[in-house]
C-alpha cells in the first residue's frame, strides 16, 4: 500500500505539471483555435531562464522565477504582436506551423546558450522530504502541487471575475462579436500568449527540480500534455487541469503496476497509456470530457 500511495503522490505531482502545460495550450487554443507547438520550448526556456537568473545572475530564487516569467511572457507577447497578428484569419495549420518555427528558434537558441549538459536550477528545496506513514513526500514536489494549485486558482479567479478574464472568454466565444462590443481582441491574444508563457515557466522549473535535472529534453513534456488537453477538451481550462492530473496518475500507476501485472502489453507501456486513455475517451466523447463541439456553419 505504501507503494501505491508513493506512486499516487508522484503521479499527482507530475500530473500537476501536465495540468499547467495543458493550461498553456488551452488558453491559446481558446483565444485563437491554434495549438501552440512552441509550448514545450517556452517551458524549457522558462526553466533555463530561472537557472540563469538564479545561478549566473545570483538573484534570490523567488526573484529569479519572477524574472524568468517576465522573459517568457515577453517572448510570448512579442511573438503574438510581431508575428501572429499578421496571419490572423489564415488557415489554422499555417499558424500552427509558424509556432513550430518559433519552437525551432527557441530550442536552438537555448541549446546555443546553455549547451546540452545538465545544469543547476538554483532552487532552495534540495533533497529534503517528509515521510508520513512511510511515504516520501519530497518538498520540491509538495511545492509543485501547492504552487500549481495556487496558479490554477489564480487563473480561474482571473478568468471568472476579472475584466480581462471576461474579455478572454468573450473572445474565445466569438471573436468578431467581442471586437464589435469593444473588446481589444489583439490585446487579448497577446494576453493569452503571456499567460501561456507564464504557466510554461512555472511548469518548466518545477519539472527540473530535484530529483530531476535541468537539460533540454524537458521540452518533450509538452508531448505528454497533448493527451491531457484532448482528454479535458481543447477549449476548457478546467478540462486541462482534470486531464493533466489524470494523465499524470495514469502514467505513474501504469509504470508501477503494468510490468508485473500486464506484461503482455509490452515494455514501457506507460509511455502510450495516456494516449490509449485519450483515444478511448474520444471514442465516447469526440470533444473530450469538457470540450464543446464547434458550431458548424453551412
Amino acid at each position: 500500500m505504501t507503494t501505491f500511495y508513493q506512486l499516487l503522490f508522484s503521479g499527482f505531482a507530475l500530473g500537476c505539471v501536465y495540468a499547467l502545460v495543458a493550461l498553456g495550450f488551452t488558453v491559446i487554443y481558446r483565444s485563437s483555435q491554434v495549438i501552440n507547438f512552441a509550448q514545450g520550448s517556452l517551458l524549457a526556456l522558462g526553466a533555463y531562464m530561472v537557472s540563469w537568473f538564479a545561478i549566473d545572475k545570483s538573484l534570490p530564487f523567488g526573484l529569479a522565477v519572477l524574472a524568468a516569467i517576465g522573459v517568457c511572457v515577453l517572448v510570448g507577447v512579442v511573438f503574438q504582436r510581431l508575428v501572429l497578428r499578421w496571419v490572423a484569419g489564415q488557415p489554422v495549420f499555417v499558424i500552427v506551423m509558424i509556432t513550430i518555427g518559433l519552437s525551432i528558434v527557441i530550442d536552438a537558441s537555448v541549446s546555443a546558450k546553455f549547451g546540452a549538459n545538465p545544469r543547476l536550477l538554483g532552487d532552495p528545496w534540495s533533497s529534503s522530504a517528509v515521510h508520513p506513514g512511510g511515504v516520501t513526500l519530497i518538498w520540491a514536489k509538495i511545492w509543485t502541487i501547492v504552487t500549481v494549485f495556487g496558479v490554477l486558482l489564480g487563473f480561474f479567479l482571473f478568468d471568472r471575475y476579472s475584466r480581462y478574464g471576461l474579455a478572454m472568454r468573450a473572445t474565445a466565444a466569438d471573436e468578431e462579436a467581442a471586437m464589435a462590443v469593444g473588446v481589444p481582441t489583439r490585446r487579448v491574444f497577446a494576453l493569452a500568449w503571456g499567460v501561456a508563457g507564464a504557466v510554461a515557466t512555472v511548469g518548466g522549473f518545477f519539472l527540473a527540480t530535484f530529483p530531476n535535472q535541468l537539460d533540454p529534453s524537458i521540452s518533450a513534456v509538452a508531448l505528454l500534455a497533448f493527451p491531457a488537453i484532448i482528454l479535458g477538451g481543447l477549449d476548457s481550462p478546467a478540462g486541462a487541469v482534470v486531464g493533466g492530473v489524470t494523465i499524470g496518475l495514469v502514467e505513474e500507476l501504469t509504470k508501477g503496476y503494468q510490468p508485473a501485472h500486464a506484461s503482455w502489453l509490452g515494455t514501457n507501456f506507460y509511455v502510450i497509456a495516456p494516449y490509449v486513455v485519450m483515444i478511448l475517451v474520444l471514442m465516447v466523447k469526440p470533444y473530450g470530457l469538457f470540450g464543446r463541439a464547434p458550431v458548424e456553419r453551412i
Binding site: 495549420f93 509511455v271 494516449y275 485519450m278
Partner: protein, 381 residues
C-alpha cells in the same frame, strides 16, 4: 535541335514555344542531374524526392480533404517494415515489395481511418499523434517485425531478379550499375526510381482531384455538413483519403528505409510527421506541386544552410565550445525563415511561384500594352 526551333518558330506562338522549350529543358535537366551533382547533393535530392512522395500522400488527406494528420510517420514505418519482411525475410523482388508497402500501409489507413472519422480539426491532429506513439510502442516490442529497439536493416532495391539471369540483367541498387559505359551509382539509381514514382504519384493526384472522388474530397474540406447534405458519403470519402494518403506514405517509407538501409523504431517519430505537415504547408497546401516544393524547402534548407555556414566567420567550428555552432545557427535561421515565409506568403511556395509567374507574364506582355493603360492587377496588389 536548333534548326527545328526556327521551323517551329514560324508556326507556334512565342509564349507556347518558350513554355514547350522550358518543359523540355526542365525534363532534360531533371534526367541529367545525377551526372551534374556530387554525391552529397544527389543524396540530399534523393531524400527530398522520397519525402515528396510521402508528402504527396499527406496532401491528399490534409490538403485536399482537410483532415489534418500528424500520424504520417507511422504509415511510413509500416511501408518500411513491409519492405523488410517481404524483401528481406522473404527475398521477394522490389517490384513486389514497393507496391506491397503501399498496400499494407493503405490497409492500416483503412483500420485507423474509422477511429479518426469521428474527430475533427486539431482533435484529429492530436489523436494521430497518438498513432505515432502507439506505433513506436508496437515496433519497439515486436522484434520479429522491426528488430526491436536495436533496429533492422531494410533491403536495397533489386530489379531484374532471379538467379537465372544474374548478373547481366539484374541491378542491385546498393551496388550501382553501369549503362552504356557510364557508371550509375546507388544514389543515382535511387534518384531515378524515386523520381519515377514521384512523377507517377503526381500524375495520379492531378487526375484524382479532377474526378468525382477528388471533388468529393475537396467538398469535405470546405464544409463537412454541406458535403454530406450534397449526398457525399463522408465515411467513404474520408476513408478513401486516408487510404490514398497511407498508400503513398507506405511507398515513401519503403524507399526511405531502403535508401537509408537501416531503421529503428525511434526513426518514426513525431518530428518526422511534423516535417511532412511542414512540407505541404510551406510548399502550398492542396496543390499538386506543393509537396515537392515543400520537400525541397524543408529537407533542403537546413542542408544548404549547414553546408554554406562553413564559410560564415563568426560561427564556432568543430568541437570547440562557446559561440553559436553551425547547426544551431542554421536551425535558428531555418525556424525564422519558416515564420517569415508563412507570414509573407501563407499559400506557400506555390503561392510565391504563382506570383512570380504572374509577374513574369506581366513583364513578358509589357511591351504589348500601351504605357497609358494601367495594369489590371495593380489595383488588386
Amino acid at each position: 535541335m536548333s534548326s527545328e526551333v526556327r521551323v517551329l518558330g514560324r508556326t507556334v506562338s512565342a509564349a507556347g514555344l518558350i513554355a514547350a522549350g522550358s518543359v523540355v529543358a526542365a525534363a532534360a535537366l531533371t534526367v541529367a542531374l545525377p551526372f551534374m551533382l556530387n554525391a552529397f547533393w544527389l543524396s540530399t535530392l534523393v531524400f527530398i524526392l522520397i519525402y515528396a512522395i510521402a508528402a504527396l500522400g499527406l496532401n491528399v488527406l490534409t490538403g485536399y480533404t482537410g483532415q489534418v494528420s500528424l500520424g504520417h510517420a507511422f504509415f511510413l514505418a509500416v511501408g518500411a517494415y513491409t519492405a523488410k519482411v517481404l524483401g528481406g525475410d522473404h527475398q521477394l523482388m522490389a517490384l513486389i515489395w514497393i507496391p506491397a508497402a503501399g498496400v499494407v500501409a493503405g490497409l492500416c489507413g483503412l483500420i485507423v481511418g474509422p477511429v479518426a472519422l469521428r474527430l475533427r480539426g486539431l482533435y484529429l491532429a492530436i489523436v494521430t499523434i497518438g498513432i505515432v506513439f502507439i506505433g513506436q510502442h508496437i515496433f519497439l516490442n515486436v522484434d520479429s517485425l522491426s528488430g526491436g529497439p536495436q533496429g533492422t536493416a531494410i533491403p536495397s532495391v533489386q530489379i531484374g531478379a532471379g538467379a537465372q539471369c544474374q548478373p547481366s540483367c539484374s541491378v542491385d541498387f546498393s551496388q550501382g550499375t553501369s549503362l552504356g559505359g557510364a557508371t550509375i551509382d546507388h544514389n543515382a539509381l535511387y534518384y531515378y526510381l524515386s523520381l519515377f514514382i514521384l512523377v507517377l504519384g503526381m500524375l495520379f493526384v492531378r487526375n484524382l482531384v479532377r474526378t468525382r472522388t477528388g471533388r468529393a474530397l475537396q467538398a469535405v474540406r470546405e464544409r463537412e455538413v454541406a458535403a454530406s447534405l450534397m449526398g457525399i458519403n463522408l465515411v467513404r470519402t474520408k476513408l478513401a483519403a486516408f487510404v490514398i494518403s497511407s498508400f503513398l506514405a507506405g511507398v515513401g517509407g519503403a524507399l526511405f528505409g531502403s535508401y537509408l538501409s537501416f531503421v529503428r523504431p525511434q526513426s518514426w517519430d513525431l518530428i518526422l510527421s511534423i516535417s511532412f505537415v511542414a512540407m505541404i504547408i510551406v510548399g502550398g497546401i492542396g496543390t499538386v506541386w506543393g509537396p515537392l516544393l515543400g520537400a525541397i524547402f524543408v529537407a533542403g534548407t537546413p542542408t544548404v544552410l549547414n553546408h554554406y555556414a562553413d564559410s560564415v566567420p563568426f560561427l564556432q567550428h568543430g568541437s570547440s565550445s562557446g559561440g553559436l555552432s553551425i547547426n544551431e545557427f542554421s536551425s535558428i535561421f531555418y525556424g525564422a525563415l519558416i515564420i517569415l515565409f508563412l507570414v509573407l506568403e501563407p499559400r506557400g511556395v506555390v503561392g510565391l511561384a504563382g506570383r512570380a509567374i504572374a509577374l513574369a507574364q506581366r513583364l513578358a506582355r509589357g511591351p504589348a500594352i500601351p504605357p497609358s493603360t494601367p495594369l489590371p492587377s495593380q489595383q488588386s496588389a
